[in-house]
Amino acid sequence: MLGFLIRRIIQAIIVMLAVALIAFMMFRFMGDPVSSMVPEHATEQERAEVRERLGLDQPLFVQYGRFVARAATGDFGLSWRNARPVSTLLAERFPATAELVLVAAALSLVVGIPLGIYTALRPNSFNAQMLQFLSLVGISLPTFVTGILLILVFSVWLGWLPSFGRGEVVDIGWWSTGFITASGLKALILPSIMLCLFQLTLIMRLVRAEMMEVLRTDYIKFARARGLRDRAINFRHALRNTLIPVITIFGLQLGGLIAFAIITETVFQWPGMGALFIQAVNFGDVPVMAAYLVLVSFIFVVINTSVDLLYASIDPRLRVDDAGPAGGGH
């Protein structure tokens, strides 16, 4: 287990170094960092000075090393767009994205898993087939279209829910939360529905496929042959084995949610990191893009590593380091 942990962490570090390399390359080769920092009429002499000050005259790997060292402390310099430290910009927006993603993730799990189980257990019932079809519609609907429709119906026509922003938020330390005000909670509803819809259908389909797969296995057949009750078979035997792979996929999906938040945040004017990132892409604001990339990858890597560890601790086959006696058979 310890070996597994360390291996995963080393892998995670390598991944982060690779991501940092991409971010660094973006800095180095997208636009000229010098020209954005010196006055327009600067002489070549002045440019060279800036270049030296920024260390751009050093060998690439030295520059990369420095970049990594600075990135590790969260220092990505100033945004080209609005001359504020990128780390501050991201930190300000992080809570908004995090709360949105968390709510959407919870929603997609809480709704997706039961629906997946239901459709797997009654694959031929009308309801299940309807759900299966709807889930296809769910993954076929462009999320931005869903978002637009939600706004049109619930904000414009019915006027029930706000069409943009986070509502009122309360600061708890540096974290600003919308969870504890009525308007904050109301503002969360539409965006999190839009964000979770795709993941929800994905999880439902995943659980369904995985569960149907498990229900076909020999040990389920054997469990039936022992006359176990359906409930025990479905929820004790099948569900456990279904959810183990679902955990891994869900880890990946969480990453997907963070990425899809870009669209949701754009549609709902949600003041999160995704909106910041899309602005940066539009503006070619490399420091923000690079920092977002590094931060988001860091989150992914942390999630994925912990999911792997979780997986390893849930699945007894992986829990014990020794694989046990080799089985016979061909």
Binding site: R7, A326, G329
Partner: protein, 347 residues
């Protein structure tokens, strides 16, 4: 064991193969575990004379298939030598040198996996001829394919079909047709009938005997079914955990099994002629090949084992019937058994 009249077609000596099953470096570092190897084949010696059949038997995982793959060049030996007509093949990959490899072919166990499901039968059979350029002309090649198909008991029209349109036995015939298409002299057959039904097994075994007679083939035959081995072989080698524990002429080995493992096998194999024999014979299980018992690998299951067996690996030396790897046999601690013959007579 040597037939003086002729130089052996295949000589295998000291053949070894180990697979690295070590955990990743970091894990070994942290857990201070050693590198782990499976000695799948651990010093195997035998020779096969032209036109004869040598069979290898043994339980699953004892290394039979690995020997076959080593001989065919599908896997590189960790040590030892494989000589075909005196030419060393141990360091040659599969298919090389073409002139020699053309004369060695193989038939596999699984009739479903051994034919490419996306290829038509004619193309499958023609592939070796094309690759080894024995029939460079496509027209002639196709004729040869038709001939081969009929030779193994199918019809020429079957060449246009896909493998899934055939039954298991028919597929094994196609495999055989492919194997003999380059006119080889030596065939390695890795459990060619163990996936087939008994009635079909008889057809294939007969076909193989017929081929041997007509084409003068030499076989290395691998099986875990002692009865099949008995039917097809001239010589039989019994393997246990990577080692050859006994090698003797087929007739002798069943009549006078030397090694205790051979005896155990003969005892436990269900026999159609032994109606309602009491099968409850404590025989243990094959140990984990990663950590085989020291000394003689078989000693934990052996009733005759003593301290020496636990400590020292016996050599593979001549026995009453052939060769055996057993201290007890060598020390004469084992009585020759007549028990088995008696049992058979009882039914």
């Amino acid at each position: 064991m040597m037939h003086p009249d002729d130089r052996p077609l295949l000589e295998v000596s000291g053949l070894r193969k180990s697979f690295d099953l070590s955990k990743p470096f970091i894990n070994r570092l942290i857990e201070r575990s050693e590198r782990q190897f499976v000695k799948a084949v651990d010093g195997v010696d035998f020779t096969i004379q032209r036109g004869q059949t040598l069979s290898l038997v043994g339980e699953s995982g004892c290394g039979k298939s690995t020997v076959a793959k080593l001989i065919m060049g599908l896997s590189r030996p960790s040590g030892g030598s494989i000589r075909f007509e005196g030419t060393e093949l141990a360091d040659q990959p599969a298919g090389k040198p073409a002139q020699l490899r053309r004369r060695m072919q193989m038939i596999f166990q699984d009739p479903y996996a051994s034919l490419n499901p996306r290829w038509r039968v004619a193309r499958i059979i023609a592939e070796p001829m094309k690759s080894f350029a024995t029939h460079p002309d496509p027209g002639k090649r196709r004729k040869e394919v038709d001939r081969l198909l009929e030779f193994v008991g199918l019809s020429a029209a079957d060449g246009d079909k896909f493998p899934h349109e055939f039954s298991g036995g028919q597929r094994q015939r196609i495999s055989i047709a492919r194997a003999i298409s380059t006119k080889p002299e030596f065939l390695v057959c890795d459990e060619p009938t163990s996936a087939l039904d008994v009635s079909v097994q008889a057809q294939i075994l007969n076909l193989m005997r017929e081929l041997q007679r007509e084409l003068g083939l030499t076989y290395l035959f691998i099986s875990h079914d002692l009865a099949v081995v008995n039917y097809i072989s001239d010589w039989i080698g019994v393997m246990y955990l990577g080692r050859l524990v006994e090698l003797a002429p087929a007739a002798e080995i069943f009549a006078k099994p030397q090694h205790p493992y051979t005896r155990l096998l003969l005892d436990t194999v269900p026999d159609i002629s032994m109606v309602n024999r009491d099968m409850d014979r404590p025989a243990g299980e094959v140990p984990n090949p990663i950590t085989p018992p020291p000394g003689c690998h078989f000693h934990p299951r052996c009733v005759h084992a003593d301290a020496r067996c636990k400590a020292q690996m016996p050599d593979f030396i001549a026995s009453a019937t052939g060769h055996a790897r057993c201290h007890a046999v060598q020390e004469g601690r084992l009585s020759p058994i007549a028990e088995r013959a008696a049992l058979r007579g009882a039914v």
